[in-house]
Amino acid sequence: MTTFIATIEHVVKGPVWGCQDCGQCVLHSTGMTCPMNCPKTLRNGPCGGVRENGHCEVKPEMKCVWLKAYDRTQDWPLPSTWKDEYNHLRPPVDNRLKGTSSWKNFFTKRDRWTPAGWKNTTEEVAAQGVDH
């Protein structure tokens, strides 16, 4: 069943969104643009190498994935909560989920798991810093 869901998901999301099967989908928060198509697989916005014409540092023939995501977040009629999430700090990829169904991981909340160290470093803690 799990494989079946993953296959359906792949068939739907592959051609439309260029899904890379990371198993922890963030499409809604990235203007429906899959960040795993960024050659550096960045989850938190564009690198410093975006070319003057908005194209990718690594693949000059392709528009930077994050520029596309940014434009779509601005222009598409997406729910405002999704738009807000664009600026959230997305956690590191959980490499164990590669190839599994993000739909299932979403419903089981498996995709919300983050390592304890990461989780405990809340924004308040990080911004304040701690002094020793």
């Binding site: 975006v50 003057e52 700090l89 160290g117």
Partner: protein, 318 residues
């Protein structure tokens, strides 16, 4: 507390940081020479991490060498070559030798280098790496395993004010600030209007005084490196009139210097800017000239006297 941290957090003084030269063969000898030129001018010097995707002496080894040579290192940690485990090991390793400044960046792609067949890693991205640094500073590895005592860390990040999407760059700064970055080294930007908008944007986002902006200027000898950056470094655009200005000058080397000085003064006048980062491609007396023209007085003390003045075994003790 590192000197850089102290100056940025407790004073209003302008800070100067620089890019350490890459080291290859005969690395320590070369490091000594660079240290002799840099000592007393800078509040922090970046120990680079395989710049432009070329292999060199490692960031950690360079940082330790700097410590021994009386410079204050800023350990650059890049996401291209190492996964999160290796990055944590480097941070802990450097901190064991007293390194206190850390700067996280995504890094150029492997295609920028001379081993383009290598695997690109990017296990974490820049903002995630900043938060990982905050986690270590808090006394835990990513897993939550305790580090006791936690290392002292002053954490920074990098941003490029000159690459699209311009408006979004400020939001990325906010993200890095929220992840724990206290200072921000900027990539070189030859568009003054972009730098102005960026700095104003950071201020308008309410981050003034919370994250110290340190723009970069580059010392070059003529138009060739400007052309190179423009044509071969993605994310850096040098306007044609800025290249022509140096190219057509009667004395291109002098004009290039004046251009750098102008950009330095312009950058220092922007809101939120607390210092300058200097990349020296000239290797001549203009480094000293620039620092002097910007009003910096060299701080030579007994403890950081040049290696020529003291016996070697003393010079290397941190």
């Amino acid at each position: 507390m590192s000197k850089l941290e102290h100056k940025l957090l407790n004073t209003t003084e302008t800070v100067f940081t620089a890019e350490f030269h890459t080291l290859d063969g005969n690395g320590f000898e070369k490091a000594k020479k660079v240290a002799d030129r840099f000592r007393g001018w800078f509040d922090g010097v970046n120990a680079t991490d395989n710049t432009a995707a070329h292999a060199h002496v490692s960031n950690v080894a360079s940082a330790i060498a700097m410590k021994q040579l009386g410079l204050e290192p800023i350990l650059q940690v890049v996401c291209r070559d190492k996964n999160r485990l290796a990055q944590q090991a480097d941070i802990m390793g450097a901190s064991m030798f007293g390194v206190e400044n850390f700067v996280a960046l995504t890094g150029d792609d492997v295609t920028a280098g001379d081993e383009t067949e290598a695997r690109r890693v990017f296990d974490l991205d820049g903002p995630q790496l900043v938060r990982l640094m905050s986690t270590i500073k808090r006394g835990e590895y990513m897993s939550g395993r305790k580090i006791d005592p936690a290392p002292h860390m002053f954490i920074g990040a990098v941003e490029n004010p000159g690459a699209p999407p311009f408006e979004y760059r400020v939001q990325r700064v906010a993200k890095k600030y929220a992840a724990g970055a206290k200072f921000l080294q900027l990539q070189i930007c030859y568009h003054q209007d972009r730098l102005e908008k960026f700095c104003a944007g950071v201020r308008d986002a309410g981050l003034a005084g919370k994250i110290s902006i340190i723009p970069t200027v580059v010392l070059v000898k003529g138009a060739r490196p400007l052309n190179f950056m423009h044509n071969s470094v993605p994310g850096i655009d040098v306007p044609a009139d800025q290249i022509a200005r140096v190219e057509k000058a009667a004395d291109p080397a002098e004009e290039a210097y004046l251009q750098t000085l102008e950009f330095a003064q312009h950058a220092l006048a922007q809101p939120g800017v607390r210092g300058l980062h200097i990349t020296d491609f000239r290797n001549d007396d203009t480094l000293e000239r620039l620092m002097t023209d910007l009003g910096r007085v060299r701080e030579i003390t007994k403890t950081n006297a040049t290696t020529n003045d003291v016996k070697d075994d003393h010079a290397y003790s941190a």
